[in-house]
């Protein structure tokens, strides 16, 4: 119709360029994992043995699963600091049910439902009371941590029935946590990318006012996303708490930071609106690999934290620079 538009009429991007554009960050994380495997594998071949690889990846699969929900939260421009404490509480709920003689499926489903319900409270406070999520979840974290210790008195749950220990089971010869992490990542990624619901989360994070103006129920979505995230925390709990015969009734220290870090290094912008669950899961894999690699090359494990810290700052710096380029002031 207009003479100005011929250049745009034909799509100019080929499939490879499109993948690079849409998944550039994820590919970078993959490249980092491969580089790590090659370099450390050359120094110490036992690092890349099938046995070490499965134990590393399945032992950390719960972080990838929790990072899926966290990605959704951060995409809508929110944050959840309470997820570590929540996983601690859900583990105790699940373990208590398992030893109480309740059917095993109840012990499995309960953390998922409880996670969604507890996070519904968080979501309501964020969306309807208008309290910033960082504050609400800071409060929730303290409530869950304190409540857990007070109720259980710090006692451990032992004698878990063997049929409860999901993390030790295998499907087609593969460890259950690994299968779950991959399946959940793929499903969540497809859902985020292919459904209008998933798209609406990106729109809300990108510009909540504009999303509201086109009729997206922003507040309801935020409550729902917190609930979905709670359910993923429940799933992560199942993989985390069933690795050993006992469940500690304390919350794993700094777990929430590890999960948030996975999302951030996976390319999820802390400013909302961009990032994928695939990136977050891959970043969880990267941490696990780095942590194990340090042991194999005989470096203190404390370097893991420092190393991850550097990764966070570099990633966020790139994100901020990209944003600045995009929103560079054109008018006033």
């Amino acid at each position: 119709m207009t003479d100005l538009s011929q250049d745009a009429a034909a799509p100019r991007t080929g499939p490879i360029r499109r993948i690079l554009r849409d998944y550039g960050h994820e590919l970078l994380v993959v490249a980092a994992i491969i580089a790590l495997l090659v370099v450390v594998g050359a120094i110490n071949p036992r690092f890349v043995s099938a046995r070490n690889m499965t134990s590393v990846f399945s032992g950390n699969a719960y972080i990838a699963v929790a990072a899926i929900g966290m990605t959704m939260i951060i995409v809508t421009r929110n944050i959840d600091l309470s997820v570590g404490a929540l996983i601690g509480v859900l583990a105790t709920v699940s373990g208590t049910l398992a030893v109480s003689g309740a059917p095993i499926w109840v012990a499995w489903v309960a953390p998922i439902l409880c996670g969604a319900l507890i996070n519904a409270v968080t979501g309501l406070l964020v969306a309807y009371a208008g309290i910033p999520s960082i504050v609400v979840t800071l409060g929730m974290m303290a409530i869950l941590q304190g409540g857990l210790i007070s109720v259980t008195g710090g006692a451990w749950i032992s004698d878990l029935p063997p049929e409860f220990l999901l993390a030790k089971m295998k499907v087609m010869g593969l460890p259950m946590p690994l299968v779950w992490a991959v399946a959940l990542t793929v499903l969540a990624a497809a859902w985020m990318r292919l459904t209008p619901y998933g798209r609406s989360l990106y729109l809300i994070g990108g510009n909540a006012e504009a999303a509201r103006a086109v009729g997206i129920p922003v507040r309801r979505r935020i409550v729902e996303v917190f609930m979905i995230h709670g359910a993923f925390a429940g799933l992560a709990t199942l993989l985390f708490a069933t690795q050993l015969q006992v469940i500690q009734s304390t919350t794993p220290p700094n777990l929430e930071l590890l999960i948030i870090t996975a999302a951030v290094i996976g390319g999820v912008s802390i400013l909302g609106g961009t990032g994928t669950v695939i990136g977050a899961s891959l970043a969880a894999v990267l941490f696990a690999a780095i942590g194990s690699a340090l042991i194999f090359v005989n470096v203190s494990a404390y370097w893991l934290r420092a190393f991850i810290g550097v990764l966070i700052l570099v990633t966020v710096l790139f994100d901020v620079m990209r944003r600045r380029r995009e929103t560079r002031q054109k008018g006033h």
């Binding site: 207009t2 538009s5 745009a8 209008p196 999303a211 103006a213 997206i216 129920p217």
Partner: protein
């Protein structure tokens, strides 16, 4: 209310007082956008100079240059006759220029005294802060401003806007400002507070301060100003003396006497009424508005800032739902309680501020165009990428967006192209009524006339268009009918043939009877 010019404003000494701050040929551009062009004015000791102009005229940009917040692209600032360069607000302060900004820059959690002395607290001989001296001097400064009712130990956050403003002025005086710039100081004040403020301003003038007073309230300007400078679209229009001018002349300077750009207005067949609004009320700024827009018709909504023109649009679109009144679309009454309800009723709204309510800048053109019709491009709950891309490409081509393609991130586009993307998004909802709020603000001339051409095309296809614009030439050139809004009501309706700049300008400034005017009715105008 009659315009009365008080005696003191007329008394001008024969020898002109010295120029404290001279603005000579100041221009400012932001990238390709020219925000100010060749502005000049003189601020004289003991004299009040009013700066006037509609939204987007460049007043705020000029104030920011004088405050040292922006560096001019060209031109000079003369302080007591010497050319100076303000590299930062600190330089401006050092040169004796103090600015009271529209959004007051105070520390809410600190006390009045701490705010007045912020940055240079008086010291005792031991080098610690001299609290009692500070309180005493703060009290004295406020007393000079006829402000005996402020306790210097209260936190600023607890004060009313009027009192906070007084604190900010006291801070300026404490810095021994010889030039005081007040940016729309009465915009957020009730009438009585505004009166008191004007008294303070007059008092400062009598003490020899050179004052630049930014406002578009005519009655205030005529009460206090000695001279007025008018800006329009960043251009310097002229400076006049208060005693040589009147309200009508200023309005015509502000809105432009002639239609300087020829917009391609095409004739469309005007059909049945699409939107009928009866006695709509919402918030303090929509007070019983009634209007009709027909299919194929472009109705221009003109009014000064604070008249309620944008608020009327926000009410029709459900962002601030109506308190009372009726809205009919195609003859059927609709209840619009949310933007979603408005969209479902066939109303689309292209907002005044693209970045705020329009565009998702982190996402690409395709995702922005499809966002209002996600349900339609995802039958069975799955997004159909191909269908989405087709819709996006249609809109992209139809509006002539200039970009690398529909996958380009919208934050990287120019203002005009961003606006086209927002319009394309709303056209996808197949609206019956399109509300355009300042459709060409901040975009370059070429893109501007393209948007006007598109408006003509859309009207020809039977869309009813309600356009809000503070650029009178645009309103006059594009509209089949002009409605004038004042105090939340439609106060005049002018068919195209009768809509002259003078007629519209007069209707815009005409006030209703003093009795019906509420103090706060002009409080929260559209943000500049």
């Amino acid at each position: 209310m009659d315009i009365h010019i008080p005696e003191e404003a007329r008394q001008q000494p024969d020898a002109a007082p010295p120029v404290r701050l001279g603005v000579r040929g100041i221009s400012k551009s932001f990238g390709p956008v020219q925000a100010l062009r060749q502005v000049q004015l003189d601020l004289r000791a003991g004299s009040i100079h009013a700066l006037m102009g509609e939204n987007g005229a460049g007043k705020s940009t000029l104030v920011k240059i004088l405050a040292g917040m922006h560096a001019p692209t060209a031109g000079d600032l003369l302080v007591n006759g010497q050319a100076r360069r303000f590299a930062s607000p600190r330089d401006a302060t050092a040169a004796g220029v103090a600015v009271v900004h529209q959004e007051l820059l105070l520390f809410g959690e600190l006390t009045v005294a701490e705010n007045i002395f912020s940055g240079h607290y008086p010291r005792t001989r031991f080098g610690t802060v001299d609290w009692s001296g500070m309180r005493r001097r703060a009290r004295a400064l406020l007393a000079e401003l006829d402000c005996h009712d402020i306790d210097v130990d209260t936190k600023v956050a607890a004060l009313s806007v009027a009192l906070r403003q007084r604190v900010e002025i006291a801070r300026a005086l404490n810095q021994e400002a010889r030039v005081l710039i007040l940016d729309e100081p009465t915009a957020a004040l009730a009438e009585r507070d505004a009166d008191r403020l004007l008294d303070v301003v007059l008092q400062l003038r009598d003490r020899g301060v050179a004052i630049l007073y930014v406002s578009h309230r005519m009655n205030e300007i005529f009460r206090i100003a000695d001279e007025m400078t008018v800006l329009r679209d960043g251009q310097y229009v002229g400076t006049v003396e208060a005693r040589d001018t009147d309200e009508a002349r200023l309005v015509s300077m502000m809105v432009g006497r002639s239609i300087d750009q020829v917009f391609p207005k095409v004739e469309a067949k005007i059909g049945r009424p699409v939107l009928e609004v009866d006695h709509l009320c919402a918030g303090p700024l929509v007070q019983g508005a009634s209007l009709t827009v027909r299919a194929g018709e472009i109705v221009g909504l003109a009014g000064l800032v604070g008249s309620g023109r944008t608020e009327l649009a926000l009410t029709l679109f459900g962002i601030t739902p109506a308190r009372s009144g009726r809205i009919r679309i195609d003859g059927a009454e609709v209840r619009i309680t949310s933007p979603r309800a408005a969209r479902d009723a066939g109303i689309a709204y292209v907002p005044e501020d693209r970045g705020h309510q329009g565009l998702v800048k982190s996402m690409n053109i395709r995702e922005n165009i499809s966002m209002a019709v996600l349900d339609r491009v995802s039958p069975g709950g799955m997004l159909r990428r191909a269908e989405e891309a087709r819709i996006a490409r249609d809109g992209f081509d139809r509006l002539g967006v200039r970009a690398a393609g529909i996958e380009q991130v919208t934050g990287e586009l120019s203002g005009g192209n961003q606006q086209k993307v927002v319009i394309a998004k709303w056209l996808e909802t197949k609206p019956k009524l399109l509300i355009l709020d300042e459709p060409t603000r901040g975009i370059d001339v070429g893109a501007k006339s393209e948007i006007h051409r598109l408006m003509g095309e859309m009207a020809q296809q039977g869309l009813a268009i309600l356009m809000i614009s503070s650029e009178l030439p645009e309103v006059l050139a594009m509209s089949d009918r002009v409605l004038v809004v004042a105090e939340g009501r439609i106060t005049a309706e002018l068919p195209r043939a009768q809509a002259t700049p003078e007629a519209v300008g007069h209707a815009m400034t005409r006030r209703s009877d003093p009795g019906t005017r509420t103090g706060g009715s002009q409080q929260t105008g559209a943000r500049a």
